[in-house]
């Protein structure tokens, strides 16, 4: 039952592991986006865009003032230009003649070219300042030319305008007279920084956006952060609203709030569940089958036990009365049939004992019951059981070195082993002597039983101890038996902590029984 329960527990455990593993494998955390109202974001973006547009108009008006004042001296041009953020160079050009700026003076930061005067404002070493020209420069020109098309600028009828070259500073030009054109180069980085700082002053407009569990961010395209609300996630924003101006581009980014939802992959879950149910079901089936088989076996064993027990009492009565009858026979010849009957009853008793022992072995294994025992007395008692049968078959028992000390050993078990070995000899080696030799070294007892029959081939030394195993079809040979005797003898020997084996011999079969056997403390030899 323990085996069936263990199997059930094991399989239920496996089923639980499969089920648990399936749940874990199928489990997945999913982010659920809750789309927020877009209107406040659009409104905010519109506020910032309007501000940028306003700044653009305002800035252009400042540039126009600088351009109109550029007709005066160089120092005036520079001082005017320094008042407006971002101007790095002011060029006064005459597209029609090469000396338009000749009356305006010079000095450091001033350069006269073929087409006009170039005044550098401020010093930003990171900015590469090109030289605006209308005609392609001569080969020795050091500064990089920024070639302007006079016809395009002036021919359109416009008085001012912007020119945007991605690789160059921002260009603002203003026609101050039919022949004079003021071109201003503007540092984009400075403009972006200034505008960014300006936007940072509009925090109220941005922070009204705050949305629970969401995030917002306003930043320039170059990466400068203006504002942020909430923890900015690592993934891409759900909404990007671009803000554009001459001074640069900004983006208003928004992330919708998200919640985490646990979902299970149905396929994996169902597969694991089915597998777990199958394994658990298998365990239950095995348990039920095992239990049923065990109950059946138990009933069978119980039946065998009951029948065997019931047989014991009448067998005892038969044996005792046979002995009494044999004692009463005056002539020995007349007692011979009784001895024959007694021999058969003994055989029947051994058979029943073997069947019971076998059923006990099948049920819960054999166990020895050691007690004080004189091995020589056991041998004598067993030999006495076989005396009549051996005499009839022309056999005799020869003993050697029988131990007469009182040893701690299961006497009944030893008797059963010896009886089975002598029964074996009686069946297979009639007509010859059977030798029983004993040896005891104080801790172990060896008993060798040797017959002079055909012997046992080496290949069958183990097989003869198998239940119901017989070397040949002995029923045909006239030898009967259950095939349990040697099997039980060896099992009993093992239960006693010893061994029973076939050993090599020149003729006949030799069984060697080895048992642990110490002397009984305080007991003297009975001899």
């Amino acid at each position: 039952m323990l085996g069936a329960r263990a199997t059930l527990c094991l399989l239920l455990g496996i089923a639980a592991v499969i089920g648990g593993g399936g749940v874990m494998l199928s489990r997945r955390e999913e982010q659920v986006r809750h789309e927020r109202d877009r209107e406040p974001l659009m409104r905010c973006a519109s506020v910032f865009q309007e501000e940028l547009d306003r700044l653009g108009v305002l800035y252009e008006s400042h540039l126009r003032v600088v351009a109109l004042n550029a007709s005066t001296e160089v120092f005036v041009i520079r001082s005017e230009a320094q008042r407006v953020a971002g101007i790095v160079q002011v060029s006064v050009l005459d597209p029609t003649s090469g000396d338009a700026a000749r009356s305006r003076g010079g000095g450091p930061g001033t350069e006269r070219g073929a087409e006009g005067l170039h005044v550098t404002v401020g010093a930003n070493p990171g900015v590469r300042i090109p030289m605006p020209v209308f005609s392609p420069p001569r080969p020795w020109t050091v500064r990089t030319p920024l070639i302007l098309d006079a016809a395009e600028l002036l021919g359109s009828g416009a008085r001012s305008g912007w020119r945007t070259e991605p690789a160059w500073p921002l260009v603002y030009w203003q026609a101050v007279s039919p022949r004079e054109l003021v071109v201003m180069l503007l540092d984009r980085a400075v403009l972006e920084t200034v505008v960014t700082d300006h936007l940072r002053g509009m925090s109220e407009a941005f922070h009204v956006l705050h949305w629970e569990n969401g995030a917002e961010r306003l930043r320039s395209r170059s990466g400068a952060e203006v504002f942020s609300n909430g923890a900015v996630p690592g993934f891409a924003p759900d909404l990007v609203l671009p803000l554009r101006s001459r001074f640069g581009d900004w983006d208003l980014l928004a992330w919708d709030p998200r919640t985490t939802r646990v979902v299970y992959r149905t396929g994996v879950l169902v597969g694991a569940g089915v597998a777990a149910v199958l394994v658990a079901g298998l365990g239950l089936i095995l348990y039920v089958q095992g239990r049923r088989a065990r109950v059946l076996a138990s009933q069978r064993v119980s039946f065998v036990n009951r029948v065997s027990h019931e047989l014991r009492t009448p067998l005892t009565n038969i044996l005792l009365n046979l002995d009494l009858a044999a004692d009463a026979q005056e002539v020995e010849e007349e007692a011979r049939p009784l001895a024959l009957v007694r021999e058969e009853v003994r055989r029947l008793a051994r058979l029943i004992e073997n069947v019971l022992t076998f059923s006990e072995r099948e049920r819960r294994g054999l166990r020895a019951r050691p007690g004080a025992c004189c091995p020589a007395s056991v041998v004598a008692a067993v030999v006495e059981q076989f005396a009549a049968g051996f005499e009839r078959r022309g056999m005799r028992v020869e003993t050697e070195g029988l131990v007469t000390d009182s040893l701690l050993i299961d006497g009944d078990a030893l008797a059963q082993i010896l009886a089975n070995l002598l029964s074996n000899a009686e069946k297979y080696a009639p007509g010859g002597p059977v030798q029983i030799a004993m040896q005891w070294d104080g801790a172990r007892l060896w008993v060798r039983v040797r017959d002079h029959g055909p012997g046992i081939p080496r290949a069958a030394w183990e097989r003869v101890f198998e239940p119901f195993e017989r070397l040949s079809d002995h029923v045909r040979d006239g030898v009967t038996g259950t095939g349990l005797g040697l099997c039980i003898a060896r099992d009993i020997a093992r239960a006693m902590g010893g061994a029973l084996r076939v050993i090599s011999s020149e003729g006949g079969a030799v069984f060697e029984l080895e048992l642990p056997a110490c002397a009984v403390p305080g007991m003297l030899s009975v001899a």
Binding site: I318, D323, L324, A328, V345, L356, R369, E384, T404, A527
Partner: protein, 230 residues
């Protein structure tokens, strides 16, 4: 030596009684546990042989009650129940041995004698012995010893040896032997004495066909020949 046999099977009880009496034991019989307890108190047997499964009071209970009152009297269980638990329970209750059915007369007597001897050795109350030929006879322990060999004998055989030894060299008449060894109330059959002498010779004589120590005096009786010789 008086043995109490208790068994609910009348045939078994009868056979046990006959076997024991044939070997010179006195017997007390009981058909159930209650009767066994009564007989034990009334007859004070020297040894108890109890079946385990008996009506009214089972053998274990009888053993327990007897042991509670007497720690020394030998108790043997005779039972068809021979599973380990049965034996263990019996021995734990204080039984001296557990004889498993089926058994024959020889085994029964041998086990009874073995237990009796153990008890005697433990008590060492009677170490009486005498030499009989090349044997040493321990009548109380019901055994004879020749050199290294110990041989069990029944009370009847011990009595025969004792009578022959007491009158060594003389012919002891059949009637005397029967009176001394069987008792005046018992009328054995004509061959009973001869059969017992034959069995005794098988045990103690080297060659029973040509006995050295117990000589037959035809028509009269038997004589213990102290010095071997034919």
């Amino acid at each position: 030596m008086k043995i109490l046999f208790a068994d609910d099977d009348p045939l078994t009880l009868q056979a046990l009684d006959a076997c024991a009496r044939s070997e010179g034991f006195r017997t007390v019989l009981a058909r159930n546990g209650r009767e066994a307890l009564e007989r034990w108190q009334a007859d004070a047997p020297d040894l108890l042989c109890l079946d385990v499964m008996m009506p009214e009071v089972d053998g274990y209970e009888v053993c327990r009650r007897v042991r509670a009152a007497d720690a020394r009297v030998p108790i043997l269980f005779l039972s068809a129940k021979n599973e380990e638990v049965d034996v263990v329970v019996g021995l734990r209750l204080g039984a001296d041995d557990f004889i498993r059915k089926p058994f024959g007369k020889a085994e029964l007597l041998a086990r009874i004698l073995a237990v009796w001897r153990r008890v005697q050795a433990r008590e060492k109350g009677d170490t009486r012995r005498f030499e009989f030929g090349d044997l040493v006879v321990y009548p109380r322990e019901l055994r004879v010893v020749r050199g290294e060999e110990s041989i069990d004998i029944s009370p009847r055989e011990a009595a025969l040896l004792e009578v022959l030894f007491e009158r060594r060299g003389e012919v002891v008449g059949r009637d005397t032997l029967l009176d001394r060894c069987w008792g005046i109330e018992y009328f054995p059959e004509s061959r009973t004495l001869d059969q017992h002498i034959a069995k005794l010779r098988k045990k103690i004589e080297r060659n029973p066909a040509e006995p050295e120590w117990i000589e037959t005096v035809r028509g009269v009786g038997y004589r213990y020949r102290e010095r071997a010789g034919r």
